[in-house]
Amino acid sequence: MSTLSVRNLTVTLGAAVVVDGVSFDLEPGQRLGIIGESGSGKTVTALAVMGLLAPSLRATGQVLIGDRDLLAMTERQRCEVRGGTMAMVFQEPMTALNPTMRVGRQIAEAIRAHQRCTRAEARQRATELLARVEFTDPARQARSYPHQLSGGQRQRVMLAMAIACDPAVILADEPTTALDVTVQAQMLALMARLVTEENAALVLISHDLAVVSGMCERVMVMYGGHVVESGNTAQVLAAPRHPYTAGLLATSAAVSLDSDRTRLEVPYIPGQVPAVGSFPAGCPFRSRCDRATAECAVMPPIEAVGDHLAACHHPLGGPASPQIPASPQIPADLAESGKE
């Protein structure tokens, strides 16, 4: 049975559909990356899965943890799941941590919310967790307040809280976006190692194709609330079928460390990301797509195209494009690099 199974998750804000029919399954230890820009619905998807949506948003569908549907649970039952079976890491650790509480105590409280143990035991566990997220002097640093730590350290505290109760699933929403590149690299390596050690499933949400492609063996591309492409990361990168994915890939590849830097114009996706609620009906990408036809006024179903899934009436075909990047490393490899 899947650890986490999301079936036809749809989130509405009044009449506007923010997330439309998202489905995926996660096995223990699997890593799924969700790629999207602003308005793609990626963050709302994560919050819906956690049962953390604002009251104005309504979620339908199923979020199955084992055989229990989170969307059908009472708030009390959800609280047991959150932080216990499922944990989340947010983008901005400064706002996600309580500024008036020492970080050790915050971790300890997260433990005590789900496990029976004495205060001293929880403290002891918190210090151990800080050591696991590579704090050099955990006993001392447990007594720090969030503002005394660097951005990277704060995010590692969040990670320690996330793994505190041995979760089956960790959701990370742009966990490294607010960090410096060198700190991001450390954080990603650490996450990869911990997820492997815990044998937890990971959902990594990011706007950065490169970050996701290095971390996750499966990827899901979202645009305008829809999943437009999904599949094995290497296969999607090698032969993107949806024009949006292809456009993102071309842009990323053209501005990278090994592109032709003298080229005057890098390939780009024309137009702007529409505001939520003003994506065109049917395929949300058709207003920016050069392959769009009248047919695209109807949302295409997501179905197998080649070796993975895409939701497009006119998918890009043909053999894999020549600039195939190296296939993502396997988790064991990531764990190695994380130990440096």
């Binding site: 923010v18 602003s38 963050t43 901005e92 990301v273 529409p274 609620g277």
Partner: protein
């Protein structure tokens, strides 16, 4: 990250291709404000009360049911009747007419104190925010000293020294509230001054004064309007209190506070004499408070979701 972070922020950023290219954005903005106003009961109720008060005050210059100063001893302390809807006072003056005329004093009192507090407090706050350092310290600490002195006591002392007058009392109240304006202005101005568009303005050579006038003031105007309306109700209360004590508006001019003050002596004959101006004061203060809260809901960007 909250829900508001992603979709709602994006919802504000409607692409221009979506809007009718010719639609004047200014009216769109006004209509948005109006749409929000309709959903704010405090603004509607407060606005209505205040509008009625202002109309009453203006009307009283040209018409009142009777002359508010017209003495008619033969009908003194007559209760409500069809000729005098709210009755007459100890000199036989029509209470309704005096209530209508009293609105003038109330509005005047509010305007004088808000103008004084605003005209001095806003520039002081702006300069404190922009210059920072010693000037900032000097302005804000002076403000603390003024704020520490009880406003009503200052007004009483001034009135006692200079003779009872609405203007003197309201100048005292106005001065007492300069620090409030200065502090609110400084706080919101600091936020605007730290934004990149102010840095950009400096980068194309806008002088400090022009930055304040073109960028800071328009961006904090909403907050200041709210503050002014709240101060208005404070001033009304202070003015009525002083009049009640006989230290504000001298008789025979009609003023609500004074009406309550003199009605005290005739409570046995007609207790309603104190009730009518009491209701008027209550409604006026409520009106300006509701207006202030309503304006805050509609105008203050920080409260927009």
């Amino acid at each position: 990250m909250s829900i508001g972070g992603d979709p709602v922020a994006a919802a504000v950023a409607a692409p221009i291709s979506d809007g009718p290219a010719g639609a004047p954005a200014g009216t769109a903005r006004l209509s948005v404000a109006w749409r929000r106003a309709r959903h704010s009961p405090s603004l509607l109720i407060g606005g209505t009360i205040v509008a009625i008060m202002v109309l009453m005050a203006i009307l009283s210059f040209v018409w009142t049911p009777y002359n508010p100063l017209g003495i008619a001893p033969q009908i003194a302390l007559h209760g409500p009747s069809s000729a005098h809807l709210l009755g007459t006072d100890q000199y036989g003056r029509d209470v309704l007419s005096r209530l209508i005329a009293g609105a003038r004093i109330t509005i005047y009192a509010g305007v004088v104190s808000v103008l004084i507090a605003g005209l001095i407090g806003i520039p002081a706050g702006l300069f404190a925010a922009q210059r920072g350092g010693l000037l900032d310290e000097a302005i804000m600490r002076t403000g603390d000293v003024i704020y520490g002195f009880p406003a009503l006591l200052a007004a009483i002392t001034l009135s006692a020294a200079l003779g009872a007058s609405t203007t003197v009392a309201m100048i005292a109240i106005g001065i007492a509230y300069i620090p409030v304006f200065a502090r609110v202005t400084r706080g919101s101005a600091l936020a605007v001054l730290s934004s990149d568009f102010v840095l950009a303005a400096r980068a194309y050579g806008r002088r400090p004064f022009a930055v304040l006038r073109r960028h800071v003031l328009p961006n904090i105007a909403a907050i200041l309007i709210v503050q002014a309306s709240l101060l208005f109700s404070v001033a009304i209360l202070a003015e009525t209190a002083l009049d009640f004590l006989g230290l504000g508006t001298p008789p025979p001019t009609a003023s609500w506070g004074q009406m309550i003050g003199t009605a005290q002596n005739y409570l046995a004959e007609d207790p309603m004499l104190a009730v009518w101006p009491g209701i008027a004061i209550f409604l006026a203060v409520l009106g300006f408070n509701l207006l202030g809260d309503g304006l805050r809901e509609v105008l203050d960007p920080r409260l927009r979701q």
